[in-house]
């Protein structure tokens, strides 16, 4: 028999982030705990990526929906803030999927977030041609978690999922 926790995780693995629809909520590392209270009652603990992430309500709704469809009756989705989410929790398969989708994945080591003034993260590889001859156009991109880069070799503009 399949472990009930694994079963729940296999359901959660099919829920995608509404803003980056190639990543599942497991890939993003926002599911922090699955608590089985009894056969029909479970609690899913999630954490927001950024404080103002507008996707959290949608994600919470989708978790409830997916679990209801799988026969669970009472589902509680709770939020935790600590420890604070970091891009270090993103799965390797998630990073691969991001790259294929055209978004440069976060580089390892979120401790490098604090940069000097006018310093930008360098060596961000272009998801189109893999060149590292790129530069930052803006630290703030189409969503809070991304910054905007440009490739100097193929001239494509691309999003970089910044370290956090």
């Amino acid at each position: 028999m399949i472990n009930p926790k694994d079963h729940i995780y296999s359901i959660l693995e099919k829920i995608f982030d509404p803003e980056i629809p190639v990543l599942t909520i497991i890939d993003l590392g926002i599911v922090r705990d699955v608590i089985i209270i009894d056969e029909q009652t479970i609690e899913i603990v999630i954490t927001p990526t950024y404080s103002g992430c507008p996707a959290m309500d949608v994600i919470s709704f989708e978790i409830k929906l997916a679990l209801l469809e799988s026969g669970y009756k009472n589902i509680k989705v709770t939020y935790t803030l600590s420890p604070a989410w970091t891009t270090d929790w993103m799965s390797e398969s998630g990073k691969r999927k991001l790259l294929e989708y055209g978004i440069a994945p976060p580089k390892k080591n979120s401790s490098r977030v604090n940069k000097m003034l006018f310093e930008e993260e360098t060596n961000v590889s272009c998801p189109q041609c893999n060149s590292s001859n790129t530069n930052q156009l803006s630290e703030f991109g189409s969503t809070a978690c991304k910054s905007l880069y440009k490739c100097n070799d193929c001239n494509e503009v691309f999003d970089y999922f910044k370290c956090h």
């Binding site: 950024y50 103002g52 992430c53 803030l81 600590s82 977030v113 003034l117 630290e139 703030f140």
Partner: protein, 247 residues
């Protein structure tokens, strides 16, 4: 044990971030260039997120102590001007881009120092919010510092606009360090660090900190400028007309 002090302090943190976000959001679709329009609105979104976390926590505490049914929404939409405890600087008009940048810079530098202290206080929820928010605030400080330097050390026009912005905003920075009974940390202790941060960036930007000027106070006590009433009227109008309305 929950006390009124924690509730008041949490509401002050929530109110300041909400009102500043509400002002900054006026730039949405009006920024000087697209990338910076996106930057200021991203920062605004962070502030709203932080504000929500504080309001949610305040509601939880109030409901426990007073047996009420507050939510983040009732606290944001159904409190009146005198009940808002935001810093006055948050409610001032945006002015031009220089003034908006300078306010964000003054506030973000203070915010960073404050939250670095708050992350170590005993209250677990406030410290968790502080740790989470700091990651965002570090970006705000970097972005606004760079803009202060760009404008201050830019053209004659941008420099003179920064000088004017300093004249307008500086009298509202004293309030950051006015000790009050609800404070969670000793705010006076972070003042010299704040001045140092401002001085370092102003040095690069060719700008000067004004000499002794009269400092405005009142926001933390609920005594506001004439601007807050208009902000609340607009922000709360939908919920006041249709209480409890949801999307």
């Amino acid at each position: 044990m929950i006390n009124q002090k924690t509730i008041n302090a949490t509401l002050h943190l929530a109110d300041t971030t909400l009102i500043l976000a509400q002002k900054n959001s006026e730039w949405c679709a009006h920024g000087p260039i697209l990338e910076q329009d996106i930057a200021i609105t991203n920062i605004t979104l962070d502030l709203i997120g932080q504000s929500r976390m504080f309001y949610q926590y305040a509601a939880e505490l109030i409901n426990e102590v007073e047996n009420k049914n507050e939510t983040e929404d009732t606290l944001a939409y159904f409190r009146s001007e005198r009940e808002f405890k935001n810093f006055l600087i948050a409610e001032l008009p945006n002015g031009d881009w220089a003034q908006t940048i300078l306010r964000q810079f003054f506030f973000s530098c203070f915010h960073q120092l404050l939250f670095e202290k708050l992350q170590h206080i005993e209250d677990k929820q406030i410290s968790a919010i502080a740790v989470k928010s700091l990651k965002e605030i570090n970006y705000h400080v970097k972005w606004s510092s760079e803009w202060v330097i760009r404008l201050g050390d830019g053209t004659l026009e941008s420099h003179s606009r920064m000088v004017k912005a300093i004249e307008i905003l500086w009298p509202y920075t004293g309030e950051f360090f006015n000790a009050e009974e609800n404070d969670l940390i000793e705010v006076k202790k972070i003042k010299s660090n704040w001045i140092q941060k401002i001085e370092a960036v102003f040095f690069e930007a060719n700008l000067l900190i004004p000499g002794n000027v009269f400092m405005q106070t009142g926001g933390k006590q609920g005594i506001h400028t004439e601007h807050l009433g208009y902000i609340l009227t607009e922000m709360q109008s939908l919920q006041r007309a249709y209480p409890g309305l949801e999307w």
